[in-house]
Amino acid sequence: MRNKFDRQLSQLNTELITMGALCEEAIINAVKYLTDSDEHSRDACLAADSQIDEKERDIEIFCIKLLLQQQPVAGDLRVVSAALKMISDMERIGDQASDIVEIAPYVVKSGIEGSTHIRDMADATIKMVSESVESFVKMDMDIAYQVMEHDNLVDELFDKVKDELIKSIAENGRNAEALIDLLMIAKYFERIGDHAENIAEWVVYSITGKHKNPSCYQEQDMRR
């Protein structure tokens, strides 16, 4: 019985890694499309997103089956419940990546060169997503905490991008629509960062049983 359960847990792990890898793919391709407007990346991003949705359903059903049939306790229960929470964050990452891809053509068409900050933001977000997946794969708390810290950087970058865009609109209203689209893309990056942070938090939870780094928690409260 235990043997079967172990196998199912390892299967769950595989599925989660795959889903995480798909998230990385989605966001990397979305950024690539934004910078190079390469049609191939666009398709890759959308394909990854639909695969992510599928995986979310599969994993959800699988987790509930595990909960009902095996009735896990202690660490195993944490793993399964953290998985349930993680997949919804991953699914959001996929959705937002595909949202970026949808908006990107308008921005590209208008020919505005995004500032370096938004490019930094894209890179930082990609890094956060892959690190959060990495922390899950290796069950490494240090990487998870790094992701949480990284989120502050993304938030700062978002503020900078916002200020810049406000300035551009004030100076030159012609491209206002595209600039607003760019702001939305920046916001999506920021949201993706938050979801990556959530994933890292669930990783910490499934290891320690405590959710959210207390210091991190306070900071978030203050921001709100």
Binding site: R7, S10, T14, I17, T18, A21, V137
Partner: protein, 557 residues
């Protein structure tokens, strides 16, 4: 075994004990019964004789002894009873012993009381006048006796039980002890029980087999580890759930992970190509893929492992093809560059020629055009010559004649050749050093230094200087070519030795050159086993160092 022996011996002793008590009781009881019977018979004998003699009057003044005496007439009417009044007793004709006595002269019967605790033994004798004399005695039954003796019996039993317990324990321990003392490492040396000898012999045989098999397995394991450990290719073995079973150090190195590694193979790498390859292999098809990972390029081959037509895992081999891929890219670039470089002058030539073919060109222009065509053709020739040179160095197909060459003389000669070019831009050429001999190929060395000096002049500033320094150390010779030119930006420094690589991407004709100069220097140096080093500061100048090692060294004669 100890428990079993203890249990059975204990049970046996206990059962025997109970059986013995029961048997003894039975025998004793029987013995008593027979005795009572005889007693009754004897008493009946005496009494009957007395009654025969004296008749019923005998009972007048009869004193009751232990046994009850009853006289009954032939009809069953009680004439006298020692325990009760005769008139009150009912007819006794239907009693078993009376009936029997009437028939046979004597009769006996045993009657149990209602509680079964007592029994009455009756004995009847027929007298001569057909009346019957009966003598009865009451006796406790076996059960009563047993119940009465319960306490002593129980005490005996408990004592016996404790004794049995202790003894059984001791006995079973004594039996087991030699078996426990068996030396199973060398079972054939034991002398415990004869009956165990075949078993022990078998054990010894099996021990030997196991030992051999273990050694065999260990040897195979060592062999396997040696093979996989020394492979430069990464090796992974996974089961059907994609968990890693075996890996070698090369695999970890390729993916840059630190051991211990266990669990899912996706923890190593989760790139899409990697995932696809693994899932294909686990679906039962051989899969091959090229994975790009942080500037490195791996060829990944995954083979499914079958057992009874079912996939039970996969073997994954990972080859590092970064170098190969890089060379491939270089070769492709080279071809593209060659075609490009060749095409540019040819296009010009063709253009000029076309104009002249039309005939609508004045005399002066024809001369001009011819000059241009000549120039472009010269360029082409230089280019092709350079390409031939570099291919010669590349293929090493033509054996070069090595000889002893004086570097100082050689450079002096080269500098003379370039003097005119240098003077045009007012550049000073300095040759510093002594006569130094090395072993090398004159043609190649000439090419190398010519190119270096040529570059140093071409990329120099007006009124600059070029130093050509030869230094002979204990066992090597170093040549420095130092200019005060425009320098090479750091970004390009590592690539200037590549073929056709130019810092100035416009392939400008202003400066000329084929883009093969430094490539020829590099290959020439490699041919002579010399080291090439480039130091450059943008805007300040460039120094190229070539150090000839032992292979080219000629000591002082």
């Amino acid at each position: 075994m100890h428990k079993k022996i203890f249990q059975s011996s204990f049970l046996t002793v206990f059962l025997v004990l109970i059986a013995t008590i029961a048997l003894i009781m039975g025998i004793l009881f029987h013995f008593f019964e027979v005795q009572i019977q005889t007693e009754l018979e004897n008493e009946a004998g005496y009494l009957s004789q007395a009654i025969e003699k004296e008749g019923i009057r005998f009972f007048d003044g009869f004193k009751k002894q232990t046994n009850r005496v009853t006289l009954i007439d032939a009809d069953g009417k009680v004439l006298f009873d020692s325990d009760a009044e005769a008139e009150k007793l009912d007819n006794h004709a239907d009693r078993e012993e009376i009936n029997e006595a009437l028939k046979n002269g004597t009769g006996k019967s045993i009657r149990y009381s209602q509680t079964l605790t007592e029994k009455t033994v009756n004995y009847a004798v027929k007298l001569s006048n057909n009346s019957i004399l009966r003598i009865s005695t009451t006796q406790y039954t076996v059960i009563t006796v047993l119940l009465g003796m319960l306490q002593p019996i129980l005490i005996v039993l408990v004592v016996a039980l404790i004794l049995t317990l202790v003894l059984s324990l001791k006995v079973s321990k004594a039996i087991i002890e030699p078996i426990n003392q068996l030396d199973l490492e060398s079972p054939e040396n034991n002398v415990a029980y004869e009956e165990l000898t075949p078993l022990l012999r078998k054990l010894a045989e099996q021990n030997q087999t196991i030992k051999e098999q273990l050694e065999d397995a260990y040897k195979k394991q060592v062999e396997f580890n040696l093979i996989t450990g020394n492979m430069s290719e990464g090796f992974l073995l996974i089961d059907k759930d994609a968990s890693i079973l075996t890996y070698n150090s090369a695999a970890l190195e390729l993916f840059g992970i630190t051991p211990p590694v266990n669990g899912n193979v996706l923890a190593i790498c989760r790139a899409k190509d990697f995932r696809d390859t693994i899932s294909n292999a686990l679906a039962g098809a051989k899969a091959e893929n090229i994975i790009m990972r942080e500037e490195c390029c791996y060829n990944m081959i995954a083979n499914p492992v079958f057992e009874k037509k079912e996939v039970i895992g996969a073997v994954i081999i990972i080859l590092d093809i970064t170098e190969r891929e890089k060379r491939e890219t270089l070769r492709r670039e080279f071809t593209a560059n060659v075609s490009h470089e060749l095409k540019t002058p040819l296009t010009s030539i063709s253009g000029f020629a076309e104009l002249m073919k039309e005939g609508d060109v004045s005399e002066d222009m024809v001369v001009d055009f011819s000059a241009s065509i000549y120039e472009e053709a010269q360029r082409l020739i230089t280019l092709v010559t350079d390409i031939i040179k570099i291919s010669e160095l590349d293929g090493k197909s033509i054996p070069f004649q090595s000889e002893t060459i004086d570097l100082y003389e050689l450079s002096e000669e080269i500098i003379n050749r370039l003097k005119g070019q240098a003077e045009k831009r007012n550049i000073t050429l300095n040759l510093i050093g002594d006569k130094t001999q090395i072993i090398g190929v004159r043609k190649i060395l000439d090419e190398m230094f010519y190119n270096l000096l040529d570059n140093a002049i071409k990329y120099n500033k007006e009124n600059g200087t070029v130093d050509f320094i030869i230094n002979k150390a204990e066992n090597d010779v170093t040549v420095w070519v130092r200019d005060t030119g425009i320098g090479i930006p750091i970004f390009h420094q590592s690539r200037v030795f590549e073929r056709f690589y130019r810092v100035d991407k416009s392939h400008s004709k202003q400066i000329g050159g084929t883009g093969l100069g430094l490539a020829i220097v590099k290959h020439g140096a490699i041919y002579h086993h010399a080291e090439t080093r480039l130091e450059s500061v943008e805007g300040k100048g460039t120094t190229v160092t070539i150090r000839f090692g032992r292979e080219s060294f000629v000591g002082d004669e």
